[in-house]
């Protein structure tokens, strides 16, 4: 097997078996902290020697979560709670939940009663995050996370360690940004494989992931591409479903860039390493933009997506709306309009962690392709 295939296999293996990763960390005596979307200050957790692991739910059947959530809450929240109740996270030291949307606020409250043995640590982000007083609230929230983590794990925080973690995360951000650029030149990498690389980042320490991604890019640089596909941009919270991504591959669509929260939205902004480390981390949040859960009165995200499509010469934008995700549902209208004005075709596909059959999406993509 070539190095490239081996690497793709490892990404796939890690992305599809978070439980195995968790158990491996636990058996090494490591402490693991679950990080719920959309943004958590992983750097803090990492700096304390704890392993941050992303918890974005799973494609599972919902049963127990329905005792807590009504049906009209998104399947990401539902499935995180379901996994928690089922004991899939057992052994984890804490779960960090930001309250960036209404459903996230509810997850934290339900968690306290549904999964009593894993402490809930809230993150209170300011929406007015840019002025100094906004940054101050972010910093105070981070200090609270530190206190809660110290209480839950007995580990002590230090600014020096955070400085190191900030750097490791910046390097990872850079690698992921580069990865996205490199993949644009490689239509042979499928949508499923692309997802695997992004997703695996959530289940391993970032320095390790950076190393793997760099090796992968190196191996990929040897590959001569012969085929070409229809270039598209994806946007949404999550583009995780195998069933859905296979449709991209079957219909010859290549994702040449994304504005997906689970993917590139995480990696756009680095910590300014000149600042005192904790302040630097708070400052990072203040500079984050172009996201449905971050206050954006000018709706700059819509223009951002248009620019992304133009930059990558994409033929169209695929909007993947997570069912019941109101922040994205509101943004969709402005995104659709901005793309329309720029002459960029858009299709909207509703995604849900419970949908297995994306036949209808296939038909939509077929029609979408006919537009070119």
């Amino acid at each position: 097997m070539t190095t490239l295939n081996k690497l793709l296999d490892s990404f796939h293996e890690i992305a599809s078996s978070p439980k195995k990763q968790l158990d491996a960390y636990l058996s090494e005596g490591r402490k693991v902290v679950a990080c719920v979307p959309v943004y958590t200050p992983e750097e803090l957790i990492h700096s304390m020697g704890l392993v941050p692991m992303g918890a974005w739910g799973g494609d599972i059947e919902l049963k127990e979560s329905k005792k807590y959530f009504p049906a009209f809450i998104c399947s990401i929240m539902q499935s995180i709670l379901e996994l928690g109740i089922r004991g899939e996270y057992s052994g984890i030291s804490a779960i960090v939940v930001p309250s960036l949307c209404d459903s996230l606020k509810c997850l934290g409250q339900n968690w306290k009663y549904a999964v009593k043995d894993i402490p809930f640590i809230p993150v209170t982000y300011p929406q007015n995050r840019k002025p100094d007083w906004g940054k101050e609230l972010t910093k105070v929230s981070y200090e609270r996370i530190i206190r809660d983590l110290e209480a839950a794990t007995g580990v002590i925080f230090s600014q020096d360690a955070l400085a190191r973690s900030n750097k490791i995360y910046n390097e990872h951000n850079e690698a992921m940004r580069k990865l996205s650029e490199v993949l644009e030149q490689h239509p042979s990498i499928t949508a499923v494989q692309r997802r695997d690389i992004f997703k695996s980042a959530y289940f391993m320490e970032k320095e390790e992931h950076t190393a793997l991604v760099c090796q992968f890019m190196e191996a990929l640089s040897q590959v001569v591409e012969t085929e070409s596909k229809l270039k598209v941009i994806t946007t949404g919270i999550l583009a995780d479903s195998d069933g859905l991504l296979k449709i991209f591959d079957e219909h010859g669509l290549q994702i040449v860039g994304d504005d997906v929260a689970h993917e590139s939205r995480q990696y756009r902004i680095d910590v300014n390493l000149e600042l005192e480390p904790l302040e630097g981390l708070a400052d990072k949040f203040s500079r984050m933009d172009h996201c449905s859960v971050l206050y954006d009165p000018e709706k700059k995200r819509a223009g951002y997506i248009v620019d992304l499509a133009k930059k990558h010469k994409a033929s169209g934008v695929v909007v993947l709306i997570t069912k019941f995700c109101d922040p994205e549902e509101f943004d969709y209208v402005t995104v659709k309009r901005a793309c329309g004005e720029a002459g960029i075709p858009v299709i909207q596909i509703e995604v849900d962690r419970q949908i297995v059959n994306y036949e209808q999406a296939g038909t939509m993509i077929e029609t979408f392709k006919d537009m070119f």
């Binding site: 807590y68 009663y113 209170t124 449905s292 209208v333």
Partner: protein, 412 residues
């Protein structure tokens, strides 16, 4: 959140609270339209935005939530929702937002009209959905948006850090509004507005507390209408006086043993959630026909802001029901249940409101256990008529009544 007003009927006694309250709502819409016609800049405002700011500045605003409730109560919810849906808004989005965005598009809505805004004032202490909704208005109309961000509080008490953050935003909002409208802030006027707002809130809270009497001097559904005034006119003398009149009427009714609940009050319940405006009659009749009166609602508290000073004001806005953690929200409700001797809890699982319904199952379970009262929920929506089934409502209310009846037997 936010409530609808009713149209005044000329048969009502002009000295009655009902008449005065209705007049306030009518005057409110009229004044904002007149201001707009004079060329003044007017705003659209979230129901729990600190009204002290624009009252002090003498700026006129109107409330999309109140408007949406009124439109829904008058039967046009679906029509407006469909206009937004045609624009690409999902039918899973809060129906108040869908109605409001539709009104923004069409500009005229006969069921409850409102001039288009020159700026929007948003406060997300009730939900983050509000931010997205107002962002879209701001973008679409090309007008400024002012956001006072009050994050959901995961702790029981409001922290000093949160107060400091909200205080800074309050001051920034004043500056922004001065710039937008050219009006000037006066500390003296601010103190006056705070005094009036407290007076209104005290009268409102005291009047609504009269449901503690058995039988209650009022049909709890009355409050749903009066709330429009608590939202839109808290900072005005008219509102203070109207609520004081209401209080006097309730005092008198208790003395004389009368009530606006026109049936024998056999059961007393807490109603959780916003009213189903499109099905107000069906929901009210379902209760009244069984002798069930709604005597407890968190809503009454939601618009009563009592404070001593500026920091107290900020804390009050941080402590609204939808910004509280489960424990705090639960304890508030349990206190109301105990105070009013509510015998059951009827929960509206409101498809529009993710935050309000998203941890209600657990919270209502706890309230039921702690207060030893039965809990039942029904599915509905505060403004989209398509998400409610009268048959389900009837069955659930009947079930609740039967348990309350059995409990009465047990207690005898």
């Amino acid at each position: 959140m936010g409530e609808g007003g009713t149209k005044p009927k000329f048969t009502i006694d002009p000295d009655s609270a009902k008449f005065k309250l209705n007049e306030i709502v009518v005057k409110h819409y009229k004044e904002v339209q007149e201001a707009k016609d004079r060329g003044e800049k007017i705003g659209w405002c979230a129901s729990n935005f600190p009204q002290e700011i624009f009252q002090t500045l003498g700026i006129k605003v109107c409330y999309p939530e109140n408007q949406a409730a009124a439109i829904a109560a008058r039967g046009a919810g679906q029509r407006l929702c469909e206009i937004s849906e045609a624009e690409g808004y999902s039918n899973d989005i809060c129906a108040y937002a869908r109605i409001s965005l539709a009104h923004m598009k069409v500009g005229e809505t006969p069921e409850q009209n409102m001039p288009l805004p020159d700026f929007v004032l948003c406060c997300n202490n009730i939900c983050n959905c509000m931010i997205k909704w107002y962002e879209n208005i701001s973008k679409e109309l090309g007008i400024p948006m002012i956001l006072i961000d009050i994050p959901f509080n995961p702790d029981y008490e409001v922290s000093d850090a949160q107060v400091a953050y909200v205080r800074s935003q309050f001051l920034a909002a004043v500056e922004q509004l001065e710039e937008i409208t050219g009006k000037k802030w006066s500390d003296e006027k601010f103190r006056e507005v705070m005094d009036i707002s407290n007076r209104t809130s005290r009268a409102w809270l005291e009047a609504t507390s009269y449901t503690k009497y058995t039988p209650s001097p009022l049909n709890g559904f009355d409050l749903l209408n009066h709330m429009a005034v608590a939202v839109c006119a808290r900072g005005t003398i008219d509102a203070a006086e109207a609520f004081e009149t209401l209080l006097e009427e309730y005092k008198k009714a208790v003395k004389e043993g009368t009530s606006t609940f026109r049936a024998e009050e056999k059961y007393r319940i807490m109603f959780e959630g916003i009213a189903c405006w499109p099905h107000l009659r069906a929901t009210a009749t379902g209760l009244k026909s069984r002798g069930i009166n709604m005597v407890a609602t968190i809503y009454a508290d939601a618009f009563g802001f009592i404070y001593d000073d500026f920091d107290g004001l900020i804390r009050a806005y941080c402590n609204v029901p939808n910004a509280m953690n489960l424990e705090h929200a639960r304890d508030k409700r349990e206190a109301i249940v105990k105070n009013t001797n509510a015998e059951g809890l009827l929960v509206h699982t409101n498809r529009s409101c993710k935050l309000w319904s998203g941890f209600m199952y657990e919270m209502s379970r706890q309230i039921g256990e702690d207060c030893q009262i039965p809990v039942t929920s029904f599915d509905g929506d505060q403004a989209d008529p398509r998400n409610f089934s009268e048959a389900q409502y009837e069955t659930r209310v009947q079930g609740l009544m039967e348990i309350m009846e059995t409990n009465k037997g047990g207690k005898d």
